[in-house]
Symmetry: C2
């Protein structure tokens, strides 16, 4: 079987949310699995000196607000602008990798729920109790999740995953790597699909 | 007939080149004309504090170089990386509007030739003599073009067009405005098309 697609994303990224809604379907059509890899994008943005699209200058901000809302309709997913945007996704990231090491499928469902909670219903996902509630709602042991959020090994894991992503050139969300070829942005899903179909051009 | 689509672009923008290769076909499919409006993007970038995608930090530059080259294949147009990138597009902009006031169709052909010369074959388009040669090759009087490049009224016209674009929120290239709705990027052509088809969503 062909190699899995690496799908990097930041939980606080609206375009990452849109990417998460589409990538599995595209990959499945070409017999590919998808490796979901959340990371802390702030670490990459410190290196590039860029800032979140949700926190721009006065000229661009109105456009991005409009594009984010309009894109939800384009991708066919619900969108409610969160009051806290961007937010701190450290707890969500830690819970993801703790779950991932036990059950990758459950971790993916958790990531989808986190995105839905944040961008679908507009609720903040930074509080540890919110993250624990989402995981518990999917059947994970609530106390185990709460403990994992303060576990040094889990903290180190998130840092290592983020560093590894940066090492592969990931500077934005979503970011897809297909057979070594990098694609940035939900708006590159068309390119990803054509790459899968043709093997490059 | 429905209102024309405003297509704003900077001659020094590779994604503007890709937008120019596609927008007329999309518009025609939905019975729309396209008003081609080159502008000097640097004036908008001074306001937003952003910088050209062809002049980025060390982490993002390799990706953008790759994406620009790969996108040429995606849009099916030739691409040769110019030695001078970005370049000064003032002369091309002045010649465009001077031609436009006499013959809008000829001005569009001129814009297409400028883009082909710059991104298709990789030759700089900043020298006035290059711009004059391109216009003359399309049948415009060479001396008339050369004189227009130094004509204060033409200079003022380019400034006014650029100011008007900025006044409408244009901060990047390509930038499309459809019935008041703004779309930034060649990668928003799919959204433009859906907007034309559905009248919004």
């Amino acid at each position: 079987m062909a190699a899995a697609i690496d799908f990097y994303f930041e939980f606080s990224s609206p375009y990452g949310y849109y990417g998460s809604a589409c990538i599995d379907e595209v990959a499945t059509r070409y017999g590919r699995a998808v490796h979901w890899r959340p990371m802390l994008l702030g670490a990459a943005m410190k290196i590039t000196g860029s800032r979140p699209l949700v926190n721009m200058d006065a000229m661009r901000q109105p456009y991005f607000n409009r594009d984010i809302e309009r894109s939800a309709g384009y991708y066919g997913v619900p969108y409610t602008r969160p009051d806290v945007l961007p937010t701190n996704s450290v707890a969500a990231c830690r819970a993801y990798y703790w779950l991932y090491d036990q059950d990758a499928g459950l971790a993916k469902k958790f990531a989808q729920q986190v995105y839905h909670h944040y961008f679908g219903t507009g609720h903040d996902i930074s509080p540890p109790e919110v993250v624990a509630d989402i995981a518990a709602g999917l059947g994970a042991p609530r106390e185990g999740v709460v403990a994992a959020l303060q576990d040094q090994a889990v903290k180190d894991r998130v840092r290592a995953e983020t560093d590894a992503a940066i090492g592969r050139g990931v500077f934005g969300s979503p970011f897809f790597i297909v057979d070594g070829e990098p694609f940035w942005g939900a708006d590159r899903l068309d390119h990803v699909e054509r790459w899968l179909k043709t093997g490059g051009w």
